[in-house]
């Protein structure tokens, strides 16, 4: 039995927290999705197909990659394979999230799984408090709406925003990753080790082109996390390292 005081300490996150946590994701997604919409139009993809990409695939990096490959005349099967490689990292993120989602009904997992992106995973997995279905669906829901809506708007009216605004909003997504990570580094230098080690492996693989590009992220994540088992002292905290 868990003493009552411990239960109270971990606030259960609700819809409101989910929507607020989603704001930086929305700010980043909308303009990037607009760029996707516009770009897909220039590759001669119909409005319906362009929106379908965002509505049913919902994977930013993969969608942009697909446009590149379509433009280069690569066959659909090969594009799917490349997408698979690029998305293997979500295998790790999904597994990591699973550790924190013990009490959630299985049916909800079908929806939560669909919304696991780099951004929503990063926001959710380092959010303190108890993750709930409401929180996750609210966070992923507005991110999804921004992504799909941005695609539609971008296809129809182009980027509309001045190029400098558009690009700086896109940079906001990397700023968001940073702003999620840094406070964790402040709490524990083990985090710095894990992140820096993973980043270094990525740079090494990418710079020397050791692996096809889809592999770099997944290898960096797996290798650095495994190194963490060896080098990071287990601090025995339940939800964090």
């Amino acid at each position: 039995m868990v003493p009552e005081g411990v239960e109270i300490k971990q606030q259960t996150l609700g819809i409101k927290e989910g929507l607020v946590a989603g704001i930086p994701v929305v700010i980043g997604y909308f303009p990037v999705a607009m760029a996707f919409g516009l770009l897909s139009r220039s590759v001669d993809i119909s409005l319906v197909d362009s929106c379908l990409f965002s509505l049913v695939v919902f994977a930013g990096a993969s969608q942009f990659m697909a446009l590149d490959l379509i433009k280069a005349g690569i066959a659909a099967g090969d594009i799917v394979l490349a997408t698979f490689l690029l998305n293997l990292r979500h295998l790790m993120m999904s597994a990591s999230l699973a550790v924190r989602l013990k009490e959630i009904k299985r049916g909800w997992l079908l929806f939560i799984a669909f919304g696991i992106t780099d951004e929503s995973f990063s926001v959710a997995s380092l959010k303190s408090g108890k993750l709930s279905v409401r929180f996750l669906l609210a966070l992923q829901g507005i991110a999804y709406v921004a992504w799909a809506g941005g695609t539609f708007v971008g296809y129809l009216i182009g980027t509309a925003l001045p190029a400098a605004v558009q690009s700086s909003l896109g940079i906001g997504l990397y700023a968001m990753f940073t702003a999620i990570l840094v406070p964790e580094i402040k709490k524990s230098y083990s985090v710095l080790f894990l992140a820096a080690f993973s980043g270094s492996i990525y740079v090494f693989i990418d710079y020397f082109r050791l692996l096809p590009s889809g592999w770099s992220l997944i290898v960096a994540i797996v290798a650095a996390s495994a190194a963490g088992l060896l080098f990071v002292k287990d601090e025995g905290r339940e939800d964090r390292i």
Partner: protein, 101 residues
């Protein structure tokens, strides 16, 4: 205009399944403590690699603004915390650089 439906469906499958299977498989059973630690390290290692990837994949004309955006976010979140303010500050910094350089 060519229909991309087969491609879209294929991409959906290879995107959704990696997101779904671990969640289904792991959320109900107790995990080996070592494996559990491994998975709890993933957010940090994923962020490290994603941030670096962002910096490395930036177009040459965007590189300075991207680095500045990341730097400002790091400084802001170190000093003040707060996701939204940090992101807003870095977007403004990136914009100023793109606009004036």
């Amino acid at each position: 205009m060519k229909s991309y439906l087969p491609l879209i469906v294929g991409m959906m499958a290879v995107t959704y399944l990696p997101r779904l299977l671990p969640l289904i498989a792991l959320s109900e059973r107790p995990l080996n403590p070592l494996l559990r630690r491994f998975f709890l390290y993933i957010p940090y290692t994923a962020l490290g690699a994603l941030i670096i990837r962002g910096a490395m994949e930036a177009e040459p004309e965007m590189a300075v603004a991207t680095l500045a955006g990341i730097g400002v976010a790091a400084a802001f979140s170190w000093i003040r915390g707060g996701l939204v303010t940090s992101v807003a500050a870095s977007i403004i910094a990136a914009f100023l650089i793109l606009y004036y350089l």
